[in-house]
Amino acid sequence: MNETGQQGWIFEGEASGASPRDDLRVTPMMSQFMEIKAANPASLLFYRMGDFYELFFEDAEIASRALGITLTKRGKHLGQDIAMCGVPVHAADEYLERLIRLGHRVAVCEQTEDPAEAKKRGAKSVVRREVIRLVTPGTLTEDTLLDARRHNYLMCILRPKGAYELALAWLDISTGDFRVATIPLSGLGTELARLDPGEIILPDTLLADEEVAGPVKHSNAPLSPLPAVRFDSTTAARRLADHFAIAAPEAYGLTSRAEIAAAGALLDYVSVTQVGRLPKLSHPRKDEQGGTVLMDAATRTNLELLKTLTGERKGSLLDAMDLTVTGAGARLFASRLAGPLTDPAAIHARLDAVAFFHGERNLRKDLRRELSRAPDISRALARLTLGRGGPRDIAAIGQGLASARMIAQALVPTGLGSMPAEIIAARECLGQSDQGL
């Protein structure tokens, strides 16, 4: 698109007969568009104009093909027709979802001042516009764009030069879960199969490293290669220390420079895509390897754990087992099924909790009814802390906390059995909803 512009500058003005001067003039709006587009070259630019997000030039061609919407023209730029298509703002989420699913990234550019203000600067001035957000597959928070029953991890993969270990960091921006791990190079495929990330960032140089690029490509996760300088460990350490208000990332047990670099790069990427706003994130926790059963992608596919061989959820073990009634519960269920434990004591603690609910039939039914009414408070919280939330998100949190209170009160055994530790801990935590709010 830019190339078209550049060539046009040289040739088109002279070639197009009638009024070359008109053709050569770049409208103020177009020059604003060009500037914003140049700052976001890898994304389709949703340019807000009134009640529409408009796309121009090559973006318009890509979007019209992908979305099946009409491609039109709007004026000329340097003597050439400007291809354009648009989506109404009120239906933008649906179009965004389709573009993201197809692996595109979208920069959303809004009008950030009142048109009346712009007029004060002169009749021809353009309304100020700014990119308020980059929408990428791994940084979504909207319920409409997310599968309520699946985690959506953004992952960073780093390989220190010549090492046979990789540093991984991953986080779910919509729930704030943030993990770091060091894994053997040979374990990458298995780990990708377990976590099934929604987007992977990595230094572009790593794409030439077949030992990393092979498993990464096989996982089919959308990739966002970035310049290697974005993964600098010194900058990363400072960034982590600033964000979490700690002296050094070692405080969280991140020992290797690669782990720190990976965690810091993720934080930076989220900050860039959210244009400076960061969601509420838990501090990075070291994911202890060996705590879960190792299963590679072929094993998972073959056993049809989360999906069938044909890629559907129906017919999988997850589909047969998952009777959870909340989105957060379903996400936890799927990640537990994807990573069964290897510590008998931890397995028994979970089985104790299941046995408790198995025995307490009435309590279980009441509790599940109450739970099914509880909204997804972690995703509502993420939207609010990102400044993307609305009154409904506040109401959702209020309602969720009220449910938590009721559930805490209801969690009393009616039979003779005593309460397992896991449920006592949950009850204490749910009881906190009384305080403060």
Binding site: K280, L303, L317, T342, L381, P391, L437
Partner: protein, 462 residues
């Protein structure tokens, strides 16, 4: 917090009117002002009607004019004249109406607009405060969210345990693997759904502790349920270790740290690798990575290549699993020759899917029984699938011939003929192709011309 918001809420805070009445006094006053404005306007309409005597006079609102007085054109003409003209300012004439404003109307309107704007601003302020308060409590809210999720999962598994008739597994640090009357949850549900009969439960004992048989070699015809049996045991291990009850009468599992499940011949066309290559890459991963706590499920490995290659590879794999990996494994195969291995490998046990023949047809019982299958019933299965009778008859003849041949030259000697797999066996150095070529020629049989040709061939091989 519940006290602050209305029941019906807008998506965006800037849309306003989401704060509940009586939550904020200032907001209530501003709203009263704008509500009051509406009442004043109604009063004004009544006064204008009595002043002008036009019963059809109405005060309306649109986004262009704001509030205005509307009358029929005939009545409107009267307002253009004195004494009304002093009060009513003409704004618009339409085919069937005339529109006017008045100073009072404009005044009320601007007061209402100001109140409305201030109310919205105030609501936004309240919204921001609520968000800030939630932000302060973000840690607590996050903890509550995860406690809710955990409770949901435990209750859901409790519900599943009851509805799907599951039992609590015993998981410990041993290397046991004992399933009594175990089932495949997904297949069982599908059968129940389609009313296709009941699922046949089967036992499985792969204990790697003293005296057990950690490797089961499963034989039996296709469609008899080998794959289902293999997978159900892997799935039960996954279910147990994620913390769920399991579909079995009882289950005892020594913790598994690594699980492999492979089916022979899964084509990977997308990556341009042949079936056999994929199979071997995956098998290599299993043999290189399985430790004493691994569980390995191998379904028809070696199927992707010629019979003798496949048999040899499968044979070596079983030996390696038994001697080197020493893991628990289920190995399904249609190479019946492999069943002879149980004579040499103490930890290997043969089981088979039982089949009855009745009037020339096979009936699958889906039961796992001790001992190897006597044959594979491939022709009977082919009949079920509807192969033409002529083909079936011919296949029967060919099979008889092959079996007679096999008896003259029994493969059963294979187990004894081959030395027991030696984990430290040195790989045989590969012979140079030129030497191999030389070894198979007998110079006496060659014409001078053929000898010269051979020399060229040998030259090419170097």
């Amino acid at each position: 917090m519940a006290a602050s918001l209305k029941d019906e809420l807008p998506l965006m805070a800037r849309d306003g009117s989401f704060v509940r009445e009586a939550y904020d006094k200032d907001l209530d006053e501003l709203r009263a002002l704008s509500d009051n404005g509406r009442r004043v306007i109604a009063g004004l309409q009544a006064r204008y009607i009595s002043d002008t005597n036009f019963k059809s006079l109405k005060i309306k609102h649109n986004n262009v004019l704001g509030y205005f007085v509307e009358l029929s054109p005939a009545a409107g003409q009267e307002l253009l004249k004195s004494p009304h003209a002093a009060n009513f300012i003409h704004r618009q004439t339409m085919a069937n109406a005339m529109r006017f404003t008045t100073a009072e109307l404009a005044d009320i309107e601007s007061r209402m607009a100001v109140a409305g704007d201030r109310a919205t601003a105030l609501e936004l302020e309240i919204f921001t405060k609520l968000v800030a308060r939630i932000g302060e409590q973000a840690d607590v809210i996050t903890n509550i969210a995860s406690a809710l999720a955990e409770t949901d999962v435990a209750a859901a598994l409790g519900e599943l345990a009851e509805t799907a008739n599951l039992t609590r597994p015993k998981v410990d640090a041993s290397r046991a693997f004992a399933m009594e009357q175990a089932r495949h949850l997904v297949v069982e549900q599908a059968l129940a759904h389609s009313r296709g009969g009941t699922f046949i439960a089967n036992d499985c004992h792969l204990s790697a502790d003293e005296g057990g048989h950690p490797i089961w070699l499963v034989t039996g015809p296709n469609m008899a349920g080998k794959s289902t049996f293999l997978r159900q045991n892997a799935l039960i291990a996954v279910m147990a270790q994620m913390g769920s009850f399991v579909p079995a009468k009882s289950a005892h599992i020594g913790v598994i740290d690594r699980l492999f499940s492979r089916v022979g011949a899964a084509d990977d066309l997308a990556r341009g690798r042949s079936t056999f290559m994929v199979e071997m890459v995956e098998t290599a991963a299993i043999l290189n990575q399985s430790g004493p706590r691994a569980l390995v499920i191998l379904d028809e490995i070696g199927r992707g290549t010629a019979t003798f290659d496949g048999l040899s590879i499968a044979w070596a794999c079983v030996e390696h699993l038994h001697e080197v990996n020493q893991c628990r494994a289920l190995f399904a195969t249609h190479f019946h020759e492999l069943t002879r291995l149980s004579q040499k490998l103490s930890g290997l046990k043969n089981v088979s899917m039982t089949v009855r023949e009745w009037q020339g047809e096979v009936i699958f019982l889906h039961e796992v029984a001790d001992g190897a299958a006597d044959r594979s019933y491939g022709i009977q299965v082919a009949r079920l699938a509807g192969l033409p009778p002529a083909v079936l008859t011919r296949a029967g003849q060919v099979m008889q011939m092959l079996e007679e041949n096999a008896q003259k030259n029994p493969a059963s000697d294979l187990a004894h003929a081959l030395p027991l797999f030696d984990a430290h066996a040195k790989p045989v150095p590969a012979q140079h192709p030129a030497l191999a070529k030389l070894a198979e020629t007998s110079p006496d049989q060659l014409t001078p011309r053929e000898a010269l040709d051979l020399l060229y061939v040998l030259k090419q091989l170097t």
